[in-house]
Amino acid sequence: MDNILSILVFFPAIAGLLGFVVNKDSARAYGITVAAIEFFLSLWLWFSFDSANAGMQFVELIPLIPDMGIGYYVGVDGISLFIILMATLMTLIGMMSMTITENIKNMIITLLFLEMTMVGVFVALDAIIFYVFWELSLVPMLYIIGAWGGNLRIYASIKFFLYTFMGSLIMLVGMLFVAYIYHNLTGVWSFAITDWYSLVLPVNYQLWLFMAFFFGFAIKVPMFPFHTWLPYAHGQAPTIGSVILAAVLLKMGTYGFVRFSLPMFPDASVMMITPIAVLAIIMIIYTAMVAYAQKDIKQVIAYSSVSHMGIIMLGIFAMNAEGISGSVFQMLSHGIVSGALFMLVGVIYDRRHTKLMSEFGGLASVMPKYAVIFGIMLMAAVGLPLTIGFVGEFLVLLGFYQVSPIMTILAGTSIIIGAIYMLAVYKKTFFGPVTNEANKTLKDLDKKETWSLVPLVLIVVWLGIYPKPVLEPIDNSVKAMISFMHEKAITQEAKDMIKVAKTKEVK
């Protein structure tokens, strides 16, 4: 099946349309079945994926507006493959664990449309198609946060929408400008990313364009100081919204850096290493501290999420194979771990309708299974060796060490601060005597919750011990991209910077 990518993109959308007909009571089962089929399709994609080939695979190209150079152009490489898998997996698991009963049919249909846009973003190889899915993903999320969220839900959802929308419009101008330059140089209109890769731009153009794309991506990541929408969005979103937001939507930003900024503007990227690393480190340390100060468990995880995204950013701008592969891997691990943590918070919220740590204490004795899974996920979030969190974080730090040891040490403190706030959460919530009467009768995880969390635990441990099957295809594509960037860079510093990684590899 050469057109498996199109099937992956449009299957959930068609299922969503047909979902309008499905009876309300069966909507949940329908959603889970569709998500499962989608997940198996993505697994199939993985099995038919050729790991040795670092280029784009399963490419499809249908011209849509040839006068403007816009076409439906999709493909997948090692970098995007696993993010797609994670997106379909998290949608499936999120749906399985969902406890919402109100308007369930609308929720399922919305989620299916959201899944289409998520997969679409990661397979798009045409900038406009990328942009279409990128923007379209805002609408279902707006609805999810706004319709099922907490008290401030409308404020949070609008803030989420407007922030991202604003950033991406500036990115759109950047895209149009690249297309214009491409037209000037070649006489052909094209929005295909692979065509754009071949453009060698003067450094000042690169810098401006880098900035334009930066706004779009940085708001999505979210980079400090554009991160303020995220705690609101997480704080107000229902569990499923937080899971998808943390696991997949944030990855669109970091993925954008890898897909667009680095290969298109290698010189500008090298010049921006220090400013971005500084922002990333502020983001890592500052938000980790903020996380420590939170009283609400979900807010702790939201801020820790921002902090971990800082690590990913740092790795991307290490400009070497370890750093970037580590970052991509960290995207997966962060997606799975933070998704699982949000689900775990959702479990306790469903029982007690509060997320304040002060309300809990001693849960370990009441809910042992829950405590164990929470503990594992927490360790993975901190980056304990033999969990999925360790691999990515270690590679990123290793990669960035070649750029700047001091900054790497600063970033490394995130592990320590992370351990502090995470363990503090764990201590306050799970250890000690059960002080609150209401907590004594809490039920442990039921079947549905267990079955949605156990697969994630297995993945966390499996990829923590043996990351090779995932890491290898990523590494292949990343290396190909780096050598390409090295070829393309025009300034000497950039060549040196990117070269360091290459010679290192050869050793």
């Binding site: 507006i65 406009i128 923007e135 319709a147 959802s157 609008i158 604003m166 419009l169 149009l176």
Partner: protein, 496 residues
């Protein structure tokens, strides 16, 4: 002594007049029918009007590009053909909206339909000529009919709107007449192509700039009124509020297309002559219009007024494309309006179906945001359709207006105005807020009071129109390519 004039019928090239004559003949037929039998139902008139428009459409489509006729007064070039086609299509979507399930008295008069067709003939004259006098005649024919159409909606604020529009329109007409007079004084001609020739030869004369300044400013004021550009936009929200919803939607599209064509002809001429400050004035006006209208729209409490300000802002967008004066910029104008037409008329039709004859939702406003609160629970399909229109207006891909927006922005970037593209982008972000506000009310809030009014007017023809608008909004990606290449071909053929 007067020379005897000898005119052969062929040299008149009367075929260029055919489309307007068809519209006028249709109007006369309707009046005659009423004379014979005055008990005919409105549905007959609606269908008759549609048929006349259909013939008109065919006649326009059959015209040859770049012809002149009728003593060279008529000019059938590419933009005149595409704008006539767009005017007719816009009118064809508008007229079935008369077939509401409830009876509104303006539509029971055959005069409404006759006036409507006269108005279309007026617009067609406006776009199919480069003679300042014929343009003036076209403007006045169209405007006077339009004022009457507004007033026919029998409500106190409709009269207010009509009178306001009439006064402003008269003022604009005066400015137009004075501007044309200055041009005539300068060049001794009212034919724009001759004006351009004469001006080009005299461009380095001392003092000519002041005269050009005078003429272009007077004309600019006239068209700024017609196009509702800042600072001459203040009439628009009140007039839209007073007019019936479909007519308001119609006014935000069709008369503006006609006025834009004339603006392209006049100001494109100035820019082509190398009078660079005209471009700067237009650009400043465009940027201020889109920004201020957006900010005003943020604070509106009534959906119709919000849409009024939003269409002002869209007009600003298009004005910016006009100021570029490139083939792409001009194509962008028509592409944008072609896409905007469906979406905007669709949005106004959604307001129309919620219109109650005598029960107003609120004392001050007829369509406050609260009216649409919880729409998703009352009428899910309606809410989704309205949301699609709003997202399209906000420029969310893949809905139709997004393609218009990127085409305009791409044209700006290509002409070297990257800052303009950024301003447009930021404006779209501001605009997203007020469109979202409606979506938030529809999807995320609970209904406030008795809600039966919300789909009060729904009927099959209205469903058909709205459905058509929805499909064109959603499936834009599939027809944008042929549309662009047709528009681009026609525009470059006529040398813009």
């Amino acid at each position: 002594m007067l020379q005897p004039i000898n005119v052969s019928l062929e040299s008149l090239n009367l075929i260029t007049l055919a489309p307007m004559l068809i519209a006028i003949a249709g109007a006369l037929i309707i009046l005659v029918l009423d004379l014979i039998n005055n008990k005919l139902h409105k549905s007959l008139y609606v269908m008759l009007t549609l048929l006349v428009l259909f013939v008109d459409f065919g006649a326009t489509l059959g015209l040859n590009v770049n012809e002149r006729g009728f003593f060279d007064v008529m000019l059938i070039d590419g933009i005149s053909i595409i704008s006539q086609l767009m005017i007719i299509v816009g009118s064809m979507i508008f007229i079935p909206l008369a077939l509401t399930s409830k009876r509104f008295h303006e539509y029971s008069y055959p005069e409404f339909f006759a006036l409507f067709l006269f108005m279309i003939a007026g617009f067609q004259f406006m776009v199919a000529s480069d003679n300042l006098i014929l343009i003036f005649v076209g403007i006045e024919t169209a405007s006077l009919s339009l004022y009457t159409l507004i007033a026919l909606h029998n409500r106190s604020n409709s009269y207010e709107a009509a009178v306001k529009y009439f006064t402003m329109g008269a003022l604009a007409a005066a400015f137009y007449a004075m501007g044309s007079a200055v041009i005539y004084a300068l060049t001794g001609s009212v034919e724009l192509y001759k004006v351009a020739e004469v001006m080009a030869t005299r461009l380095n004369e001392a003092g000519l700039m002041i005269a050009i300044f005078g003429s272009s400013m007077l004309l600019l004021v006239a068209f700024a009124f017609k196009l509702s550009l800042f600072p001459f936009h203040t009439w628009a929200p009140d007039v839209y509020e007073g007019a019936s919803a479909p007519l308001a939607g119609y006014m935000s599209v069709v008369p503006k297309i006609a006025a834009f064509v004339v603006t392209i002809r006049i100001f494109g001429m100035y820019i082509d002559l190398g009078v660079e400050w005209v471009r700067i004035v237009l650009l400043v006006m465009a940027v201020v219009t889109m920004t201020l209208a957006n900010i005003m729209a943020l604070v509106q409490e009534d959906v119709k007024r919000m849409l009024a300000y939003s269409s002002i802002s869209h007009a600003g967008f298009i004005m910016a494309a006009l100021a570029l004066d490139t083939t792409e910029g001009t194509t962008a104008i028509f592409l944008y309006y072609a896409l905007f037409m469906f979406t905007n008329l669709g949005a106004f039709s959604m307001l129309w179906i919620s219109r109650h004859k005598n029960r107003r939702f609120d004392k001050r406003y007829d369509h406050p945001y609260e009216k649409f609160a919880g729409f998703i629970k009352i009428m899910p399909v309606g809410a989704v359709v309205m949301a699609v229109f709003m997202l399209s207006l906000a420029g969310v891909p893949p809905f139709s207006l997004f393609w218009g927006k990127i085409y305009v922005m791409q044209a700006a970037v290509n002409a070297g105005y990257v800052w303009l593209a950024i301003v447009m982008g930021l404006n779209s972000a501001i605009a997203a807020y007020y469109y979202l506000k409606l979506i938030v009310y529809m999807f995320l809030k609970d209904p406030v009071k008795d809600v039966d009014t919300i789909y009060y007017n729904l009927s099959k023809p209205l469903i058909a129109v709205i459905g058509f608008a929805t499909i064109t909004t959603i499936a834009a990606i599939f027809y944008v390519q042929p549309l662009i290449s047709y528009l681009y071909y026609m525009i470059s053929a006529s040398g813009y």
